[in-house]
Each structure stands twice: as structure tokens, then as C-alpha cells.
């Protein structure tokens, strides 16, 4: 008759992009005559922040403030091809395509500026605030707006760019499984603390501490959204969710949210997250993608924490109170392990 606490951990990596590659994305970037840029994509924002990170990548590459960039998606008439938003590929594939397009557009913009200022293009730099000036002589400057007008109406240049990013498709050896699945991987380690009620089998989350390595956090608030939300989904997978409670018997599938359980706002716990950055050589500014990685470490960490708390191994998901209680009873009672 006790609530017993235990801690467990897990560590893992996650491949970035569609397995084996062969999943390209394209991007188009162009400026209007007043120096405001549009990124045209067919990529989808499911809430993960696709529109936002591609906007920042474009602004950084162009050398303009993010307020001067707008991401337009998704319209198949105006957006170039994108494979889609899945497999943690968005930041990496679409981000790289946007960089390539923005680089081309920037090249034209700098050429146009060089012509206006009558200098070599190699002598110019952007200040990230909407101006282009001579290196070491910031007073010799022109706004990106004026460059755009000049390019459009005097010089006859298009300040625009196209980009595609493709990891070439890998073969798979039928006998050995030799293959190139991905060019980079994200990493994670997570510690979960749970409290198990040995009378009801209920498992409550106490806290989580985690470290994720993501190449580069393009926007720390968006990364936080994914890692916190993903960990919640991991708890949900571990302790609550199933459309087949008697799998492989398909009967009694849930029909609504009263029957398909997920943790509510009263079931969450504090989650302290640290992000490490080891840039992927082929990631945009080294970025990988946290979108799927974030849910995975939680499930085994919880199972391992339950073992630490009461000494039972839960090898089948979801870990319902019934399963915990049956295991405790089969064992002859809770057997707390050494505190970790």
C-alpha cells in the first residue's frame, strides 16, 4: 500500500530525412521591387513551425531582417515540388533548398548593389538590418529596397533564386542490408521519474530531465515547442494510448476522446531540457530536426523507471494500470530497486 518512486533512462539517435534519401524539396525566393522577399514552398506546416524556420533561414542567408521575408505555402500552382512534411525532413531538406535559393537571390542582389555603388561585389556586405555597404566603410551604403528598385527598373535584373536539395537515393543490399539510410542523426538521453501506486497500478509522472543534440537550434522557442510537446506525446504513448486495447484482438476500439485516453494538463510534469549542437555537415547552418526524436526516448525511460520503482518489467505498450498491477501481483508484491 504505497506510492513508490523510481527513475529510468534511455538514450537513442534518430535519422534525419526519408530513409535512403531520394526525397528532394525545392524552394523559390524572389524580391518585390521594394526589397521584400517571398519564399515559395509547397511544404506543409503542421504546427512544427515550417513557415517560421524557413523564414529565418532565408533571412540569414540573404542578409536581411526576418521582417522582410514572408513564406508562402502551399499552393501547387505557385510552389515548386516538395516531398512533404514527414520523416523529420523539413528543416534539413527544405531548409537547405531555401538556403540555395536565397544564396542565388543574394548573389543577384549584391551584383545589383555593386553596380549602384560602383564597387566590386567582393567589397560589399549586408548588415542584416536592410542595408548593403562597403566593408569597412559603412557610410557607403544602399538599402535593399533601393537595390530592388534599381534592379527591377534600371538594371533589368531579377533578384530571385531557385534551390533544390536532394540526398541521392541509396541502394539496399538484399543479403546484408548494407545501405546509406541518412546523412546525419539527432541524439537524445532522457531521465524519467515516476511514482507507481502499488495498489492501483497507476503511474504518475514526477519529472523528466533530458539532453537532445540537434545540430543547431535554429529557433530555441520552436525547438522547445517540439521537445516539450513531443515528450508529452511520449508519455501518452507509454501510459495511455491504444486503439486496440486487446491487441491483436481488434474489438472494443475507442470511438471518442473519452475512450481514447491521453494525458491532460493535470497529468503533466516538469521537464528540464538541454540542447546540444553538433552541426551536421550537410544541415542548413548545421541543423537536424527534432520533430520525431522528441517522443521516442520517453517510452522506455518510463518503463525502466517503473522497474526501478516496483521491480516489474513492462514490455508491452501501453503500460496500463491493469498491466502494472498484474505484474506486481505475479511478482508477489512491489520490489523497489536501488535508487538511481
Amino acid at each position: 500500500m504505497a506510492k513508490l518512486r523510481g527513475r529510468g533512462m534511455s538514450s537513442m539517435n534518430y535519422p534525419i530525412g526519408m530513409n535512403l534519401g531520394g526525397d528532394p524539396s525545392q524552394a523559390l525566393v524572389h524580391s518585390n521591387p521594394s526589397g521584400k522577399f517571398t519564399v515559395s514552398l509547397s511544404s506543409i506546416d503542421l504546427g512544427q513551425g515550417m513557415k517560421s524556420v524557413t523564414r529565418q533561414i532565408c533571412a540569414e542567408t540573404l542578409g536581411v531582417p526576418v521582417e522582410d521575408v514572408y513564406v508562402d505555402t502551399a499552393d501547387s500552382d505557385t510552389g515548386p515540388h516538395c516531398m512533404g512534411s514527414f520523416a523529420s525532413r523539413g528543416t534539413h531538406r527544405v531548409g537547405n533548398a531555401v538556403m540555395a535559393a536565397a544564396r542565388e537571390a543574394r548573389g543577384v542582389m549584391m551584383e545589383a548593389a555593386a553596380e549602384e555603388l560602383e564597387v566590386n561585389v567582393a567589397d560589399l556586405e549586408t548588415d542584416g538590418r536592410g542595408n548593403i555597404h562597403v566593408k569597412g566603410a559603412p557610410h557607403r551604403s544602399i538599402s535593399t529596397k533601393d537595390v530592388a528598385i534599381a534592379a527591377q527598373f534600371r538594371q533589368g535584373r531579377t533578384i530571385s533564386g531557385r534551390g533544390i536539395f536532394l540526398v541521392p537515393l541509396s541502394d539496399v543490399d538484399p543479403e546484408t542490408g548494407e545501405m546509406s539510410p541518412a546523412t546525419c542523426y539527432a541524439h537524445a538521453c532522457l531521465v524519467a521519474e515516476v511514482e507507481v501506486d502499488d495498489e492501483t497500478g497507476e503511474v504518475a509522472m514526477v519529472r523528466m530531465d533530458s539532453a537532445y543534440e540537434l545540430g543547431r537550434a535554429l529557433n530555441p522557442r520552436l525547438v522547445e515547442q517540439q521537445l516539450v510537446g513531443g515528450a508529452w506525446m511520449g508519455i501518452s504513448h507509454a501510459l495511455y494510448e491504444t486503439p486496440e486495447p486487446y491487441y491483436p484482438d481488434p474489438s472494443h476500439g475507442p470511438r471518442d476522446f473519452d475512450e481514447y485516453l491521453m494525458p491532460g494538463p493535470g497529468d503533466i510534469c516538469p521537464h528540464d531540457i538541454t540542447v546540444l549542437e553538433r552541426p551536421a555537415p550537410d544541415g542548413p547552418f548545421g541543423a537536424k530536426g527534432p520533430g520525431e526524436m522528441c517522443a521516442n526516448p520517453v517510452m522506455p525511460a518510463i518503463a525502466n523507471a517503473i522497474f526501478n520503482a516496483v521491480g516489474v518489467r513492462m514490455d508491452e505498450l501501453p503500460i496500463t494500470p491493469e498491466k502494472v498491477l498484474r505484474a506486481i501481483k505475479a511478482q508477489g508484491g512491489a520490489r523497489p530497486q536501488a535508487r538511481r
Binding site: G8, G47, V191, M262, E316, R340
Partner: protein
Amino acid sequence: MLELRKDIFADERDDNLKEIGKPTQRQDMLGHVTATSVYFNDHKLQGMLHLKVLRSPHSHARIRRIDLSEAERSPGVRRIIRGADVPHNLNTLLSLINFGKDDEPTLAVDKVRYKGEPIVAVVADSQREAFEALAKIRVDYEPLPTVFDVEEALKPGAPVINETYPKNTFTYHDIYDHQKIRFGDVERGFAAADHILEQRYQMSPIEHAPTETNGSIAAPDTNGRYVVYTSTQALFFSLDTCAKILDVPSNKLHFIGGTVGGGFGGKVDTVTEPLSILGAMLTGRPVRYMIGREEEMLYCAPRGAERIFIKDGIARDGRILARQFRCLFDSGAYTRLSSYAAVKCAAHLPGPYTIPNVYAEVYCIFTNRVPATAMRGFGVTAVDFAIECQMDKLADLVGMDPMEFRLVNAYRDGDMKAHRREAKNTALIECVQVAAEKAKWRIRDDFKRMSSLKEAGGQRPTAPPPVREPILVNRSAGQQRTVYDRPAPPPPEPIRPPPPAPPPLAQPAPAPSHGAIRFSSVFGGRRR
């Protein structure tokens, strides 16, 4: 706010950036909080009709007869669509990248293979009138034997679910019913091990349950084209799938989306667009096909269940010498994307650890349930659950701290992985160290000094010559064989008297042997 450890790997980064790394407000946040973000269902079209489908009540049955006469006369019904009306009524999603055979109808014709499979679509003035018409459709079914368990489905003599794959497994490389990983020699590794641990893990299917259900609105547009507002996660994937199913040039379709109320992998399958477009083509009116919540929970693709068997051979110093997997993906009645997941899973094995001998068989198996599809972590989530639970058990077996056990086996730059590629850009060790520090989980100093970059002690495997058959080794009588029934060591401060020893866990059945089976398959070079 999360913490950024800029000090780690600092010499590999140039942090001198202006927009990157800033906590810039989302481009769509203002739209979200003012409720002005536009989702597919936020388009109001004049004269829009509503499409709902009749779904099979049987998990496996022949369709003998469909009687639509009463339904056609039902008030508000504009058009009823049958399988024969669908120009190309057999498809598999990955045919777009030349992987797999067409096996799934948009509307079932002679057979249904899962409970909930769509058979007939009704287009009516209102959703209510569509439902009332559906209730008037009469179908004569001849129920067939079912199979719901992946291991039952593999047995000879099991009911054939999907005639495209008569042995109930997807075919890999034209010849195998599973994807193989063969790296080193696991039998030799097991023979050299001090402990063997063989365990079984099961992950349930998972419902994506985004707050916005799947759906699309298709409408005739000017110039003979069709505009489609859609919740898809993959705009061109869906557009090209519809172009194929409806046998129209792709530039006849104008897909608009990009803002979706959650997806998590459940909005790739393009379930509503082919029928909503076909409805618009056949009625000349806008047609909305929106999946209801009960419909989505019961009949729309979940994450597929996975059953995973892991057998490990481990030395008493904590090094894993050999790891063997048998992974069984439950694809449900049709392939969709599970065939790809099995290969992704194989690529992921044995986890981020350097193990010199790895053997795996990964199956994509058909059963009489709702076809599975991608979900967050596709191909990896379940096997990582299995691997990390296994790692915890192994650590316990050799009496090692779980964190230190991970660090002993962690992969590092330059290590050879089981799919025969060198590890690069690794960071598992640093993640473990930082997490341990955050959680005040004590690890010994020499473990705190380890690095993904430096060499550590222990076997560093390189790509071995290919091994066609495992080499059987006679085990010496004195070698310790340990199964996972060892009582846990007593806690430092016992709280209560030690309970009686638990009964040993049942051993999983040994993997059945099977021969290579010849099929024709299209897994060759992909079309560009």
C-alpha cells in the same frame, strides 16, 4: 526556457549569426491566436455537397452484391460512386517512387479486407442526408476467415488477405519476405558471450488523433481544372496520387493547403482527396469529404503495431558482443507505407551502439485490420522502446549502472555500423553525460571524460567480409547461460522483508525457419 549548452562542440560551430538562433515569433502565431489561420475546412463554397462512405462491417469478406436502388432515391442524394467509377481503382502510395505493387482499391469491389474499408461513396446535399442514404445501401457479404496476429499470418495455410502478396508479407528485392541485416557473425558472438538475454516486446497501434481530422474540399475550377483544399502533409504526394487514381494530367489539379491542424504522419495517405475530386468531377459541384472523429478512430490508418524479439550476447564487462532482431510490422490489410518502415527499421539497428555482430530480419506483414501508416518516429519508435528496455535489463544483468552501460557501448565517430557505414557526427555520449548531470545521476569520473570524438577501449569493428550462413559453434558445457529471472540485488536500505522469488518468465518461441520465396517485385531502380 530550455538550456543551450553552447560550450559542447563549440569548435565545430560558427555562432556568429544574425537571425538563426533567435527566438523569433512564429510567422503564423498571430493568425492562430486571432483564429484567422485558414485550414482546409475554412473555405466556404457555394453549393457545396457532402461525401460520406459506406464502410465494411466485416474484417474479411467477399462482396456478392451491392444494391443501391433505395439509396439512389434517398432525399438529397446527388450521386453515388462505386469502385467501377474510379478510373484507376488500385494503388499503393509508394508507387510514386516505384516501390511496391498496387494493392489497395479506393472503393472495394469484390472483397473487403478490413473492418471499415470503403465500398461506396454517397454525395448528398448535407452530411445528414448522406448518412441517411448510406443506411439504405444493401450489401451481401460472404464472410471469410480472418487473421489478426502477425505470427499467425506468417504460418503456412493462413488466410490470404491481400492477393497481391499471397504469403501475407511484403516482398523485398524480388526474393525475400523480409529485409535482412547481416553484419559479422552473431552465432560466434553468442558463443563468446557470458550472458544471453532473449526478450519479446510489443508496441500497440497508435491513433494519430490530431485535433483536426483528415479531409478535403474539391471543386471544379475555371478552365476545366479542379481546386482542392486539403489537410494533406504532402502536397505533391497527394496531387500525384490523385492524378494516378483519377487518370488525369497532374496539371489539371490545383492543390491548396499548407496549414494543417496537426498531422503526425496521419495525413499522408491521401484518403479523402481522390473521392472528393471524383465527386466534384461527377456532380460538377464542390464536394467535401471530411472524416468524422469516430470514423478516424476506428477506420483510419493508425501507427502500426510492432512485435520485436531481441536476443543479445553480452560479456561480463558490459560489452554487447552480438545482437539479433526479429521485427514484425503489422501493416494491416494493405501496404501503404509499412514496407518502407521495415527498411528504415533495419537501417536503425542495433541502435546507437557499436556491436560487432548484428543479425536482423524485419517483416512487413498483412493482417485483417485497418492498414497502418506513418507516425512520428516511423520505423524507429517501437524498436527503440525495445532496445532501451533491453539495455536496462542487460545493465542489470551485469550489475552495471544504466548510464555507464550506455557509455560503454555507445557509438563514436569512425565506428562501423551494422549497415556498413562509418558513424560520423555522433553525440550520444555527450547527451548521456549531460542528462546524467542534469538529473544528478551519478556516474564515475572516467565515464564523464569519454567523448564521441576520441578512441576508447574495446573492440572497434570494421566491415567484415559478407557472411552468407551463420556459423554454428558448439558451446562448452561450463559456459554460463543466464535467462532473465535473476532476482534483483537487495536495495541498500531494505524497506520490507524480501518477497519470495518470482517464477521465471516464459521463454519466447524460437523464430520459425522459412525458405526464400520467389516473387516478382518492382523494387529496382527508381523512376526519376
